[in-house]
Symmetry: C2
Subunit: 364 residues, 2 copies
């Protein structure tokens, strides 16, 4: 596994820029590039121009990257989602791939307003992986599932030859039930909605990057990986008519806001200085040439809330451990549909876009 960073991950040394994965290939051509897995525009294009046409009538009309809500007999609504985790290194400050695989999928369910219920776990193991390491990661999944209140109910294990994997990849799919009266989805964003972020951004991406070979830049930043279902339950208890929830994973806050604006056909404005960015994240991003708005998080969400209930929701969020540092950062507007605008510290404005492809490969 030690050759991952040599082949694909960024290096601290300016002389090693050749070793970067192509961060923004403008013309990806006919082959898969790292950026197709970055959660940005290339990922979205792959879904829109390859997967959806190929799946044809079998495809859901919903955006296939979010949790899907299925109508079951008896009127029950089932949320169903999947994510494969390929993060490198497998363990990073503040977490590991097992914890991430549980919380990431639990959070996807929670973003549809569902109460997470059960997860599957499916491993692709590379021949030669230490069983002790596998056991530690599986234990981490067990603890995380316990904390998140879900069960690991079904699974699969495949093994690939040495040199055809990277230690391990793990997929978790999840199911949960959407409570009656809850209707949380991107399409419900309305002009006037208040934009709330649940805490400091950029921690997960910088924590993972700080452990990549050659990037020991001396920070004590830890991943924010955490389950958000309790936070969401508290928010829904305060405002059952909550409009939109979105976790801030690949592509960061900027990608989440852009995708919400595009999906709902609304504009979003926010104050850059109101976005909670820890000083250490700001420093690391400056050093690495990254925009904190594009860096992945694994325990943060953005909520679009009716203005008249925003104060109460914010207070409720701040009483939860996972929402302690929640902050109002902006609002939804009927102007410039599909476009996200940040007000800068100097009083100007700038258009915020999704990254093209990969800022940080293999981040989740």
């Amino acid at each position: 596994m030690s050759d991952t960073a040599e082949q694909g991950a960024p290096r601290a040394s300016a002389a090693d820029l050749e070793a970067w994965s192509c961060p923004a290939p403008l013309h990806p051509g006919e082959q898969v590039v790292m950026g197709h897995g970055g959660g940005g525009r290339l990922s979205a294009e792959l879904v829109e121009h390859l997967f959806l046409p190929a799946f044809g009538e079998a495809a859901s009309t919903a955006t296939p990257t979010d949790a899907s809500v299925l109508e079951l007999p008896g009127g029950l609504r089932l949320a169903f989602t999947t994510d494969t985790y390929v993060v490198q290194p497998l363990r990073f400050p503040g977490g590991d791939i097992g914890e991430l695989a549980v919380y990431g999928t639990v959070n996807d369910l929670a973003m549809s307003g569902a109460v997470p219920m059960a997860l599957s776990s499916a491993f692709v193991l590379e021949e030669g992986l230490e069983l002790d390491l596998l056991s530690q990661i599986a234990s981490s999944m067990g603890r995380a599932a316990g904390r998140a209140g879900v069960r690991l109910v079904t699974g699969d294990t495949k093994v690939v030859e040495r040199g055809h994997g990277d230690g391990l990849y793990v997929n978790t799919a999840g199911v949960g039930v959407v409570p009656a009266g809850v209707d949380v989805r991107p399409g419900r964003a309305r002009p006037g909605d208040v934009v709330i972020v649940s805490g400091a951004i950029g921690l997960h991406g910088v924590a993972v990057l700080s452990r990549r070979e050659g990037l020991e830049f001396g920070t004590d930043i830890r991943s924010d990986t955490a389950p958000l279902a309790d936070l969401v339950a508290t928010m829904l208890a305060t405002d059952l008519d909550l409009h939109v929830l979105r976790d801030l994973t690949r592509g960061g806050l900027a990608t989440s806001l852009c995708e919400l604006a595009l999906t709902a056909g609304v504009g979003i404005e926010f104050e850059e200085r109101h976005v909670p960015v820890p000083e250490a994240v700001r420093a690391a991003c400056g050093f690495l040439g990254l925009d904190p708005l594009h860096v992945a998080n694994e325990g943060k969400l953005v909520a679009l809330v009716r203005a008249e209930r925003a104060g109460e929701v914010l207070e409720a969020m701040r009483r939860c451990p996972e929402g302690r540092d929640s902050a109002v950062i902006g609002r939804v507007t009927g102007e410039h549909p599909g476009v996200v605008v940040a007000r800068t510290g100097l009083g100007g404005t700038r258009v915020v876009d999704r990254p093209m492809g990969e800022q940080l490969p293999r981040i989740c």
Copy 2:
């Protein structure tokens, strides 16, 4: 991808035996070996001795390799399952990884008596994969989902650096609803039950193997990959009290019967000459030193049926395209619990066991 067979797959040449993955490592030691993914005893040991203890209280009490049936509010029973597909080559006579990923998971749901409803699809793509090939495989998934009557409702795409994958791996998880009155599970096997196999065995494994580099042994055998949900629905319409269903994937008929015997604490006896083994499969297995009972299938099942209804169920199966060649091969007995016994052509008997690890690596 062309070096897969060089590293891990069996070769036709007797001089190349060194290139085999260790097929039956008696002491796997402390690392993952290919056999841990073979679906045999090593796979079962990994679940029992590593995953279940590590998951702890979060683990389901059900065998985590089968579809799990969850009780939802209102008494609805939801079947939930997952499988990752790592088959090499990605296309093989009679199918490809996309079709396999849809039918494999649909069949897992059907084996719990559920009506399959929706699948997720999560890809791990290797940098450099041709987008055209990806599109063909995704199209194959779409067609297969259409044939199986399920929708592809949620998904994920990750990309790993060149040399850290194998073209693509795909995970599908699936959900379905178990109809009222249906209770199909291994624990329901009873002495006196009749054992029915739904058709010829060994086709998938031999078809995949025939395309591995160095193994062009000239056969026209095609994979039997097919959705079994319609066959199961027909069987349940004939006998709602059907006891047990099991698909014959990794580890083949022998592994399925052994696991059923162990889970239910019953003995199983069958007539070897009644098991439908095509002549071409028998010849290929003889050439390769494989036991057809251990070779994977992707469109066959075994059913344990009450004796008084077995005749009707068999007739109903034979009217379905997927069950045309169904045959009664044996019966469940109260003797030798946990043990499967085959009556040989010469009138003797032999104990049938699961393979230790890998006969054929990367078969599904």
